[in-house]
């Protein structure tokens, strides 16, 4: 299931609110995409279309060129793993290990294969030592990492993260970055909804900006955070990363990340 696509997708909620308005989006396997925008811009609504939790009221959602309208969520969960923002809306098991086992078990994993998937996921988020701990004995930020592990263990080709760095400290953010890099290295697609522009610019190859149910910018961080796009960003109350602002001020071109800015400074020196 290499690519995901939304074709002219619209979604109107039962109350009449139009959350998505003609969204066209193609994501190839292996891409790292950050989805940014104000609350209410349609980001969460969009990602819920990727695994069938929401169905478009107009347009189509395709997995590898096949319309997924008739596929159940349970089946799509094999391809797209979605980590919700609030871990407490999913945690129910008495131990960290049991919680992480839930997802892959649903997908039919068992025995040694299950154990391996769970172990790998726990190590990836740094909770291997807490396998027998009750999830509610962990702090809120580690429970968030637990939720991440529980979806990682499902080994889906596509991983979707909803606000993975919110409420995380330095180590938590570093863990999330590491998980994204490892998933990318393994050839998986990673899509993240985030408010953190620095994170979006540095951990992803592509940034998609949404406003009022539409995509208003879509491209690599260098172009989305370039000076020419600032007006569009600011129209939806988003600020480019500091590195981009400084780079523009110093006339160094597009420098969306600290690394890019420092490289440009070194080059210009």
């Amino acid at each position: 299931m290499p690519g995901l696509a939304l074709e002219a997708v619209g979604h109107v909620y039962p109350g009449g609110v139009r959350a998505l308005d003609g969204v066209d989006l193609r994501i190839e396997l292996g891409e790292r995409v950050a989805l940014v925008g104000q609350n209410g811009s349609g980001k969460t609504t969009l990602v819920r279309h990727l695994n069938g939790l929401l169905r478009p009221t107009s347009g189509r959602v395709l997995h590898d060129e096949a319309d997924v309208a008739s596929a159940t969520v349970a089946r799509l969960a094999r391809s797209v793993g979605l980590v919700f923002q609030d871990p407490d809306r999913q945690i129910f098991a008495g131990s960290v290990r049991a919680e992480v086992e839930f997802g892959p078990r649903n997908l039919g994993l068992g025995g040694a294969e299950l154990a391996a998937a769970v172990d790998a996921a726990l190590i990836a988020v740094g909770l291997a030592a807490e396998a027998r701990t009750n999830p509610y004995d962990l702090g809120a930020s580690r429970r968030k990492l637990l939720a991440l592990a529980s979806v990682l263990a499902m080994r889906t080709p596509v991983l979707v993260l909803d606000e993975p760095t919110t409420g995380q400290d330095l180590r938590g953010v570093a863990t999330v970055r590491r998980v994204i890099d490892e998933a990318h290295a393994a050839g998986r697609t990673v899509i993240a909804v985030t408010h953190d522009m620095d994170f979006a610019a540095s951990a992803f190859d592509r940034v998609v900006v949404m406003r009022e149910g539409r995509i208003i910018l879509d491209g690599p961080p260098a172009s989305v955070f370039a000076e020419s796009a600032w007006d569009v960003l600011r129209s939806t109350y988003l600020e480019p990363p500091l590195a981009a602002t400084i780079g523009a001020r110093l006339g160094l071109g597009a420098t969306p990340t600290d690394a890019a800015l420092l490289a440009a400074l070194a080059g210009a020196a």
Binding site: L53, V73, A74
Partner: protein, 225 residues
Amino acid sequence: MAGPAALAVVAVLLPAAVARVLRRLLRTSLLLSLPIAISALLINLFFFPGGATLLFSLGPVHASAEGLAFATEVLARILTISGAITLFYLTTPASELVLDLEHRGVSPRIAFVALASVQTVPAMVERAATITAAQRARGLDTEGSLWRRLRGVVPLAGPMLLGSIADVEERSMALEARGFTRPGRRTLLWWPPDSGRQRLARWLLVAAVPSLIVARAAGWLEWLG
């Protein structure tokens, strides 16, 4: 038959029309009374003792005209009762009812619990929806066989319960920090207005209950049917 019908019109339908909730009232109270209405109709239509005039037969059972007449009477009474309850519900916002109770001396904390139980329903429904979505995203099958769906009870009920408990803990702390547990009454900025006429009407209604019972027992209300 004139009696119960007249009662229904005067006591329930007329006020409903004045309050502009007639259509909703009819729909709701009809729905409410449907099960009992159907059974009352069937039992009386086919099994009314002393039903001499035959209307039609369905195999071994016979429908009688007397039975139909009695059934209609019973239905009218049922509808009057359910209509009255529905009328109360449709014309009394929960918040106003609770505020009024508090104004008349009910403890603010009890009043709050009464109100909060109703008001938190939408939030709970939303929480349940998010939990279901999160677990479905992890492969929980909610569209498959019954057995499959039964297995989903713990992953759905668990976070709901735990989350609700955690939610209540946070809420109580926030409420306490805002003086909720201070003993005694609190200042109300508004309560539903009362008037002399409403008070009189209430007293008349209260007095009517024993009076009507006595009148009925004394046989003075035969003409009502």
